[in-house]
């Protein structure tokens, strides 16, 4: 078989089971693809020795008849996941050289299932960004190009994951999503990205950004692959006190392709002023596809949508300022060079000034400000109240019988790297406008590639599901994927 790195998880699983291919062969194909893709800057720490060893073990397991769905599948891992003995830096200078002495629950679950680690993937620093340009490793590059040939962002923060999956450097990758960091990069690269319900996947060992919003999920080439990989990532974990005590079902078994009678809501507040016609048209087409498959399309209202972004940009920085307090030059990573007579406060301040990039510093300071005495009620508590109203909007829609909600995934296709360099930080935040509500409400959301814009760049739609009903959500996404028939691939230039 040729081009083994282009296989889906489901395709590889079946080929492995039949003995048509070995995990070592799959893994070598990916390692070769990675070696040839330096220009994408997706893999920032490569682990070929570990990968080959894991692949050999997987082949033994397959031979002995103990394989499960993910056995022998080569994956890329976002740099935010702690992986034992392997650099885990959250793309930050402040964690230079950090090699955890432990493994995150998600990656441990994947390795227990027999998956193979190819290396660590680029991202925005501490997952704060929408373009992968805040990375200490330099930005990842989108494998897709527009007509003018400019380098495009793969999105962020899981930009390296999206670029790697979109360019077939791995079969799938892990991502994390705090405000859209799985779904927006998936939409920008023609791939599938699923943010599970808050609590479905353990956060233990995933470097924290905003603990009440962070959730890890799969980034894959197909909806079926997302179902398979979520099943391996998810678990009830006593090491994460917010891990939900809800058994993990067989998500792939939910993929019946039958959505007759399901009610799909179209929220009118997501029709933004100045929304490009292409996005609007795509959204209508998506609704038609679901209607043709027998779903009922209903207009709904989520009245507090407009306030989701400002609420998010209070709550997420507040939590980040607290979570990132631990990077102080004492326990791990970087310590700034100190001058004669410098005390411990100088050490903290210099280390954090040198170690954090500008966007992370900005968010820590905003978070510090909104939590400081005198402003806590005016900003932080008000934002948390608005968050409660945003969640109530969704609760009411679901209580009225809506099964899922269809929206655009992003307000545009992938933009050029550097094009936002002089923009106001708030302009970059607008990338999250369709995705951030889902994190605030703790719901599952999936981005599915549905079409291409006039330049040929991929565009995605988002489906938002009921809490802990990822199976239903994936099934609806499968119907959308089949109807859209998105098969385009980026032309190789790297």
């Amino acid at each position: 078989m040729s081009d083994l790195n282009k296989l889906t998880i489901a395709g590889a699983r079946d080929a492995l089971a039949k003995g048509d291919v070995t995990s070592v062969e799959l893994t070598d194909a990916c390692l070769t693809a990675i070696e040839g893709a330096g220009a994408l800057n997706a893999f920032v720490h490569k682990t070929p020795e570990i990968a080959r060893e894991m692949a050999r073990a997987a082949d033994d397991r397959i031979k002995s008849g103990n394989a499960v769905a993910m056995t022998g599948i080569p994956l890329g891992i976002k740099d935010l996941f702690c992986t034992k003995g392997v650099e885990s830096q959250a793309a930050s200078r402040i964690l230079t050289g950090f090699r955890p002495e432990y493994e995150s629950t998600v990656t441990q679950n994947l390795w227990d299932a027999g998956a193979v680690m190819l290396g660590k993937l680029n991202m925005d620093e501490f997952a704060m960004g929408s373009s992968n340009e805040s990375s200490a490793y330099g930005n990842a590059v989108n494998p897709w190009k527009g007509k003018d040939g400019a380098d495009l962002t793969p999105g962020g923060s899981s930009g390296g994951s999206a670029a790697a999956v979109g360019a077939d450097l791995c079969l799938a990758a892990t991502g994390t999503d705090t405000g859209g960091s799985i779904r927006q990069p998936a939409a920008f690269t023609g791939t599938v990205g699923l943010k599970p319900t808050y609590g479905r996947v353990s956060r233990w060992g995933v470097i924290a950004f905003a603990s009440s919003l962070d959730q890890a999920g799969p980034m894959t080439k197909s909806v079926r692959d997302a179902a398979i990989m979520l099943g391996a990532m998810a678990s009830v974990d006593e090491k994460d006190s917010t891990s939900a005590e809800i058994p993990v079902p067989d998500f792939e078994a939910a993929l019946t392709g039958d959505i007759r009678g399901k009610k799909i809501g179209i929220p009118r507040e997501y029709r933004m002023d100045g929304m490009p016609d292409e996005i609007d048209a795509l959204w209508r087409q998506g609704a038609e596809m679901l209607r043709d498959a027998g779903a009922e399309i209903v207009d709904i209202s989520l009245p507090h949508t407009k306030y989701a972004l400002p609420a998010y940009y209070v709550i997420a920085p507040a939590e980040a300022s607290s979570n990132l307090a631990r990077y102080d030059g004492v326990r791990y990573g970087l310590r700034a060079k100190l001058g004669q007579g410098d005390g411990i406060t100088d050490m903290y301040e210099k280390t954090r000034a040198e170690g954090f990039g500008p966007e992370v510093q900005r968010r820590i300071m905003i978070g510090t400000y909104v939590l400081s005495a005198g402003f806590y009620d005016a900003y932080y508590n008000r934002a948390r109240r608005v968050r409660a109203l945003i969640k109530r909007d969704f609760d009411q829609a679901y209580a009225a019988g809506v099964d899922a909600i269809l929206t655009p995934a992003t307000p545009s296709s992938a933009f050029a790297l550097g094009s936002m360099a002089d923009a106001d930080p708030v302009e970059m935040y607008l990338n999250d406008v369709f995705t951030v509500t889902v994190n605030l409400a703790g719901l599952p959301g999936i981005s599915v590639p549905v079409g291409q814009d006039a330049q040929g760049l991929p565009l995605g739609l988002q489906l938002i599901g009921r809490p802990f009903e990822e199976g239903d959500l994936l099934n609806q996404a499968l119907v959308l994927e089949r109807a859209a028939g998105f098969v385009a691939k980026p032309e190789r230039w790297w």
């Binding site: 972004l309 004492v330 106001d424 930080p425």
Partner: protein
């Protein structure tokens, strides 16, 4: 509300991030831009709405108050920039 240079200095210090004086005006401007964006929240009627702490209405898990992990000082110190004799080492804290 708007942030003055003095307040920006104070926030930077609270956050333990060194910001040189020359950079304070730009920092204050940026923070003000973001805060202005947040001002929209004042349009919302939040009367009687409880601040949300978590998305799932679940009681925090309880566990037995027993030691479940430990005896791994070496591992904990492994990534420290400066560790000596089983301790993290830092510059002088008290005069």
């Amino acid at each position: 509300m708007s942030i003055t240079e003095d307040e920006a200095r104070k926030v930077a210090h609270l956050a333990r991030i060194r910001v040189e004086d020359a950079a304070l005006p730009a920092l204050a401007r940026e923070l003000n831009g973001i805060l202005q964006f947040m001002e929209q929240l004042n349009e919302v009627d939040v009367e009687g709405v409880e601040p949300m702490t978590g998305v799932t209405p679940m009681r925090l898990k309880r566990r037995e108050d027993v030691v479940s992990a430990g005896e791994m000082a070496d591992k904990i110190l492994k990534n420290a920039p400066d560790a000596r004799e089983g301790f993290f080492a830092v510059p002088k804290v008290v005069e």
